[in-house]
Each structure stands twice: as structure tokens, then as C-alpha cells.
Amino acid sequence: MAGLSIHNVTKSFGGTNALDDVSIDVADGEFLAVLGPSGCGKTTLLRLIAGFEEVTGGRVSIGGSVVSSTELNVPPERRRVGIVFQNYALWPHMSVAENIGYALKVARVGRAEREARVKGALALVNMEQYADRRPANLSGGQRQRVALARCLVAEPSLVLFDEPLANLDVHLRASMEDEFADFHKRTGTTILYITHDQAEAMALADRIAVMDHGRLMQLATPRELYHEPANEMVASFISQGMVLPADVLTDEKKGECKVKVLGQELVVRCRKGETPRRNARICCRASQIEAVTGKGEGFAGTITRAVYRGGAARVEFEPDGAPNTGLHFDQLDPVTFEAGGRARLRLTSGWLIPAAGVA
């Protein structure tokens, strides 16, 4: 088993915790994305796993053996971990083939075998014809492919991706995403993928670990993150979810319960065992808001902004009773809402965010 286990890891720099009691288990062959805003500690996590930083508390094991703990720190060169760096980190003084063959040369692999394996790695990323080029003469996407081949050639038990698409333009990103997914399917390598881009994480990962301020917020599949966020941070971070104050009115029954939100009574999905409570929060999506005509059930308020985005407008709305609760939803053509206008809306569904501490 070549999985990765991060166990109660804490890392502090001069008193402040960059990572605070983080535990993540990555199964063998899993593609796990670590997602979070900048400064959330995801890069620190990667550097700890690679061995560039030492843990302050907890331990990291790769393939069942401990590599980082407070007593022991296996140096990066002994971890058999591959890294694809954000800025590729290709050595400018070596050709593409030399870059890829470096790890084998260091490991004193014989010349014939080395050449064969470099060739194989180049083929894997469709770069055979570029073996003798210098990195400076390659495009961004080509460089990233070389970097990928370089980390594969040593057959690492674990590959770490450090925001590998951040420096590429939008079109290239989509095609590299496909290549990464394809690569994972073919090789079955365990991958830990650091990113701040949700779409990227959703598209690629089996599971996503959302981090904020050095803490693990939720570790779940992309679907679960979207539909059942464990806390307010995840709810609002993923796809700009709206978090609204609500009172729970009934016990959970078949995964649903009744709540009162903005004066409207609504049935929302919830975790097992929820009971009535006040000051709860629900998460709802733009698609779960609709306009009501006449005096139907719902709540009135003012349109604060309406921005036409082609085919539909993004409408921002402030309910009368709760002036600091901004809602937003899309109105398809024909767009009728205008800033300053009055409207009546209702929620169609939502998710009851579990009470804090019941993660």
C-alpha cells in the first residue's frame, strides 16, 4: 500500500500555526485535491509531505512508514515522492532528456536502461521529438509535460502537484486537466493535488480536502462538498453558496426537516438526527431561488444590482427583514429586474448546515 497518511499534523512558524491539527488519509491510487484560498496552509502541507519542512506536531506516513514526526524527518531525497512544481522548475542548463533522466542518473541506473526509461516517459507525455531541446525553447504546456515526465520516470509512490496549472492560460488549462486525469487513470499513482481553483479540483479529484486558516474544513467527494457542506466556510466558499440564518422547526425525517428562513417555511435536506434549534444556518444555491408573482409564499425585498451576462442576468437582492443578507440568482432572458426595483422571491430547497462541532 502506497497511500499517504497525515495524522494530527501541526506546523507553526514563530508562534502562528500555519497548519493546525490536520488529518487526511489518502488511499492508494487516489486522486486527492487540497483546495483553499491563498494562505490557507495548503502549500505548507505539500512542503511537509515532501520533507522540505519539519512538523511541529503529529506525523506523516507514506506507504505505511513514518517519514515525518517530531523525532524523525526523512530528507526529501529519500522519500521517493514526485513533485510537479507550479513554475515547472526545469533545469535550464540541461536538455529535456537530461532533465528527465536526472533522477535515474542520481540513482546510478545504467545508461541503457536510463535511456529506455527516459524515452518511455517522453512517450507518456507525447514529447518524444523534443528530447534534445532546452527548456527555454518550450511553451508553457510543453514545459509542464516535461516536468510531469521528469517526476514519473523515477516511479514515485506519491506525486504532489503544486498548483501546476496556475501559470498556464485558460485554453491550455482545460487540455492539461484532461491530460492529468488521463495520466492518473493510466498509471494509478497516488496524487495529492494542491490548487485554489475549485473547478479544477472538482474536475480532477476523487475527493477534495477544503482548508482554511490552517485547518481542514471538510474532506469529501466533490458532490458532497457541493450539496452537503459541513460548515459555513465550505458552504460559502464552494460555488459561492449563500448562507442564511434559519430556525429548525421539526425533527429530521428521511434526511429532511422543516425550517423557517426569512419568514418563509421551507423543507431542506439535512443530516441524520437533526432536532429543532434556533440560530441555525442553511446553505442555498442560486438555482434554488425563484421569483414569485403576486402574493405567494416568500419574502419581499429590493433588487440592489442586476448585471446582464448574456442569456441571463445575475441579480443581487436584499430581503426587507434582513438588510445584510445578500442573495443572488440568475434570471433568464427576458430579463425584467433592474437595480432599485421591488421583487418577491422564494427558496425552493436548501441544505441545513450541521451545528458547529458536529463535523
Binding site: A50, F52, V74, P75, P76, E77, R78, R79, R80, V81, G82, I83, F85, Q86, N87, A89, L90, W91, P92, H93, Y102, A103, V106, A107, R150, C151, A154
Partner: protein
Amino acid sequence: MTVAFKERQGQQMALTVGIVVLIVVLSLLPMARLLQEVVLPGGRFSLDIIRSGLVDNTTWVATWNTVYVGLGGTLLALVLGVAVALLVSLSDVRQRQAFVLCFVTPLMIAPQVTALAWLQVFGPSSPMLDLLGMAPPLGTPNPLYSPEGIVLLLGIQYAPLVFLIVRAGLRKLPRELVEAAQSSGASWFRVLRTVILPLMTPSIVGAAALTFVSCVGNFGIPAFLGIPANYLVLPTLIYQRLAGGGPAVLSEVAFLSVLIGIIAMVGILLQDRIAKRRDFRITSTSLPAAPYRLGRWRIPVEIGMWLLIAFILVLPLIGLILTSLVRGYGVTLSADTATLENYRFVILEHAAAKRAFVNSLYLSATAAIFAVFVAIPLAYAIAWGKHRWVKALNLAIELPYALPGVVLAIASLLLFLKPMPITGIHIYNTVWIILYAYLARFLVLAVRPTITGYFQLDRALEEAAQVAGAGLFTRMRTIIFPLIAPAAIAGGLLIFMTALSELTVSALLWSSGSETIGVIIFSFEQGGDSKYAAAVSAIMVATTFLLMLLASLFANRLPDGVLPWRD
């Protein structure tokens, strides 16, 4: 796995130990020995040496003279350097690159060569004045043999230093700050006075401190210009005492060199105080401000700038070359009397001169090569190391260079006067003691550009090699060395150029058989053989130009600002 693990840890340990040993041997040991001689002579605490130094009147006269020429030279260098930096950076003068090259060149030429060249321009035996029919009668003193002469030459020698530092500061000045002031209605001079100059305070004060330290520690210029007029500064006083009294006066001159060290330190501390008084930090980076249009003043300003070059560079060099061509003192130079005999004599005939060329070549090449190889791991520890003692490390390497050269020379003398313990090797009075002093003094010249190089290098390049399984030494050899070598080699070249005609250190450490080029020029001049001194100097200037050209050839592979004369 544990064996391999230990081996890698061992490499890290070896690097650390190596660096610590180096710092101790090249920086801490000599400085400690010097202080011990002054305060703890013979192992017992005593203030006798300090007391006898303080009651000696010549100490006070020399100290006053040192401070006087130090401040004077600094002031002149500041005025010249800042003015030129402002013109070159902020106005639309043309031919900038060529001008900067010419303006910075005096810094590359050894001070004693500068002094010698200037002496040939004025004075009764000046072939140039003679050619123009303006030479004063033989026997009248050269006007440069005076404190004012020393101040003038110190100012010209170090104006490029001020220029380089202030220019670097001006390059970082964001144009928004200038444009904001302009759009508030301020005229260009007002912007200069109220925005640009205040923001440049750290650069200007830093340059002033560095120049002051350099002026105070300069030996070549006061030796050539001051000794004939019996105007002594501390470095020349030390030289004279030591030349007259030998090792017997070592503790006495140790006190004097500590005194110079203290004067230099005061300069540095004062700079620190001023720089911390206000917040001068510039937060944003952007394009440089649009150049100020000089309009109809452009041509006059450009003429003025090139006249300056003619005055500080061309004139003395012509003087030097003309003197190197004369047959003898007082012989009028003409196409008929010009001769290359002086060059032939110093290269082929004069035994000590021939030795000096070989010695200086070996010394500076060895020092440069050693520094390149040491600078790469050393700068690695400083730039990329995680440890806290790294800052102290940097300071320790800067110390032998920051303090005037005489300080290190005297410290080396004290350290090696007796045979070394255990090995019994005795390097006093050999060429090796000069090599030791060169290594200690000039190492920082290679370390600085190498550190800059590391900061411009993406650390991920090393980390990528690390995750590929490469240990520290393998990474050093295969990744770091090839990438950082150009910067380190450029530093090595600076060392080579500086050490080749160095005088301050070798004047105090040389012995018969271990003469250096600097010493030879000095002794020719002292013996009245200006023509030979000029010939050797002319060869050195030509060598310097060649080396500058050589370094410029691979300039585009170097980090910015490594070659001082490249704009």
C-alpha cells in the same frame, strides 16, 4: 535506509563545519588576535598600549588628518556621485552607457595608480605641461602634495562608488511617486528636492558611510601624496612605523589600526542611525519615471559631463602614459625622445619587478579561484539557509573587507609572526601571508554577487533535484554550481582585478622575494623612478581594461548589477 540517511545528514554537517571553520580562520581569528594584542598583551589585561598610544602627539595629528581627508573626500565624492547619478538616471542625456563606463572606471584602477597618474599631470616634471610649455620650474613642489590634493583624488576615486549606490536606488524609484508630485503642481526641481532626494536618503547615507570607510582606510593616495609633504594619516603612519621599527612596534601599530577600525565603525553606525530615523521604504515597484527633458540645456550638460570624464579619466591616463615614455627626469618629451625603454626595463630587466608580476598574478588568481569555489557553498548557506546564525555569518565575512585594509594586514602580521602551533609552519615574510590576507579580505567580493545570484534563482530548481533523490553534494555539483557559477566567477574576476595591483595589505606584509605589483610601483615612485612606476601602472591599467572587456563578454549571463561598470 538509516545508513544512507546518516550519510546525507553528514553532508549537511560537513558543509556547516566547513563554513564555520572558514569564518573562524579568515575573519574571527585575526580580529580577535588584534584586539588581544591591544587589550590583553601577553595574556594579561593591560591598558598600557592604549595609554602610550593616546599620549603620543603624532597619533592625534594623524587621527585628525585621517578624519579631515576622510570627510573631505567623502563630501567631494558625494557631490560628484549624486549629481552624476541624478543626471544619468533622471534626465535625457545621451550616450549613457559609454558615460557610465568611463565614469566608473577610476574605481577599477588601483588608488596608487590614480595617484601616480595625477602626479604626472601637475608638477614640474609633468611631460604634459612640458609639451604645452606650461610646466613650473624644476624644484617647485607638486601642488598635489597636500591635504587638498589627497581630498581631490579620494573624491574622484570614490565618486563612482557613490554613483553606483545612488543609481541603484534611483532605479527602484517608482514613477508614480514622481508623477503624483508633478500632478500636484510641483516643478521638477521641487520634485527633486521634496520627493526624490528625501527618498534617496538611505542610498545617499549608505554611500557616504561606505565612501568614508574607504577614504579613511585608503593607503595608496595618502602614501603617494602625503608622505612627500610629511602629511601623515593613520594608514601611512602605521606603514612608516612598521617600516622603521619592524616587529618590535607591532603592538603600537596594532593600537593605531584598532583606532582606524573604530573611526570606520563610527561612520557605519552613524549611517545606521540616520537610515532608521524615518521610513524610507518604497513599497511598489514600477517603471522608472519619464526622463526630464533638459531642452536647450541638453548639449551644454552633455559637454560638461564629457569634460568631467576628460578631467578625471583621460587627463591623468595621458599623463601616466606620457611619463612612461620619457627617458629621464626633466627630459622634454617629443616624437624623437619618446621611448619604450621603461617598459622593457620593468618587464625584462628589473628582477624585483619581474618577480612582482609573477607574484601578483599567482596571488590574485589563487585568491579569485579559491573565492569562487568557497563563495558558492557559503552564499548557499547565507541565501538559502534556515539557521539564525546566518546573518551573523554574513557580517563576519563582510568585516575584513568593511574595515580598512591596514587593520587586516596588522592582524595577519600578529597572527603569523610566530610559527603556527602544532604544524610549526612559518608563513611570516613569505608570499603565503599575503595570500592569507587576500583571501580574508576579498572573499566577500565573490560572496556578494553569488548571494544576489541565489536570490534570483528559483529555489524550486534545487528542490526538484532533491525530490529526484540527489543529496546535498550531488545537488551542489550538478544543479547549483552550473547555475550560479557565472555570478561567482564575475565576483572572482572583481577579486582578481582588485588584488592584482593591490597595495594597502601587501605594503605591510611584503618581504624581499614576495613583492607585489603595488609594492613595486610604490617603491619605484619612492625611489624617484616615476617613469618606471608609470610604465608598470600603464601596464596595469591596460590589463584592467582587458579584464573589464572580458567580463563584459559574458555579461548577459550574469545577474543585474554584478559588473559595476555595466549600466
